[in-house]
């Protein structure tokens, strides 16, 4: 990846300029998600979509892309110099993960049907929340408020309307993640 303005070379996974005039410049990674169009539309009814003519390739990128070979993929997270990966097979068995990475408490919510993952800070103001699935709902154990962990927002209960800070998580080939983060931690279910 290079920029037109200076022809410097960048890594898109790292968001960083690796060589050239802008070396060591870091771009801000913005939370995003890879998911199926059907789910995205429902969760974001006002969305639009980029449309470009499809070129060449016969490989269809639909939800089977991940479900065919889940062991090849991880969800990757980086905080304060520490990288951690969460393997798709383990996430499929435990899609709600309360974790702490480099001292930062986070929650990851995984949709095994699409391979989509969302991540938020579990610390809100001075309180650290722990999430659980109970009765088909996602709640926090501290206040028993209900949450939508695709949006990181409490939908009912004492904390209704509270918005957690989203964090960047990236779906990646496991071998690519390990190459860019050779000292990555690996989540064990």
């Amino acid at each position: 990846m290079l920029d037109e303005e200076t022809q410097s070379l960048w890594s898109h996974l790292l968001g960083k300029c690796m060589e050239g005039e802008l070396k060591d410049t870091e771009l801000v990674s913005i939370p995003s998600v890879i998911t199926d169009w059907g789910s995205w539309k429902i969760q974001n009814p006002e969305t639009d979509a980029m449309i470009l003519p499809i070129q060449g390739r016969s490989l269809k990128y639909d939800v089977s892309f991940y479900s065919n070979l889940p062991e090849r993929f991880v969800i990757g997270y980086v905080s304060g110099g520490t990288a951690k990966s969460y393997g798709f097979p383990d996430l499929s068995k435990q899609p709600l993960v309360n974790d702490e990475v480099a001292g930062n408490p986070i929650v990851i919510w995984f949709d095994k049907n699409s391979g989509a993952a969302w991540c938020f800070d579990r610390k809100h103001e001075q309180q650290i929340l722990e999430f659980d699935e109970q009765g088909g709902k996602t709640i926090d154990l501290q206040t028993e408020s209900e949450w939508d962990l695709r949006k990181g927002v409490a939908t009912a209960g004492k904390m209704e309307g509270t918005q957690l800070t989203p964090r960047v998580v990236i779906p990646s080939f496991a071998e690519a993640w390990n190459a860019f983060h050779p000292n990555t931690e690996k989540w064990q279910k």
Binding site: L2, E26, E46, Y61, G81
Partner: protein, 119 residues
């Protein structure tokens, strides 16, 4: 090796285009910590770019977008999209349309924020 999608906020007037770099990493790199406000990249890697296509393609700086209902006539519900929400705006970049060496980076402006959607 192919990496999956990332959305980056582009600073200043940087426009990103594809040179199809393969990045190699040395084994056993030592980790040095570096605190930054961005998602930080601390491990030291050996950067070994390799040009796999003979020349850089022009950067994509303008795209067509359609509202969801119209886009749904072209997209199937099960196909993968890279989705991002900034402010009140949400946009999906269909993965199928990001395939092909000229496509893998989209320079865009969403809700006034300049971003690069990469695959």
């Amino acid at each position: 090796m192919k990496l999956l999608a990332v959305i980056l906020r582009v600073c200043g007037t940087i426009t990103l285009g594809l040179l199809s770099i393969q990045v190699g990493c040395s084994d056993g790199s030592s980790v040095s910590s570096q605190e930054t406000e961005t998602a930080s990249r601390a491990e030291s890697l050996t950067f070994k770019p390799k040009m796999v296509i003979p020349r850089a393609f022009p950067a994509i700086k303008e795209i067509d977008v359609l509202p969801a209902a119209k886009a749904s006539t072209l997209l199937s519900d099960s196909e993968l999209v890279l989705g991002v929400s900034i402010g009140k705006h949400s946009r999906a970049y269909p993965i199928q349309m990001l395939c092909g060496p000229t496509r893998e980076i989209i320079n865009d402006n969403l809700d006034g924020t300049r971003i690069a959607a990469t695959w």
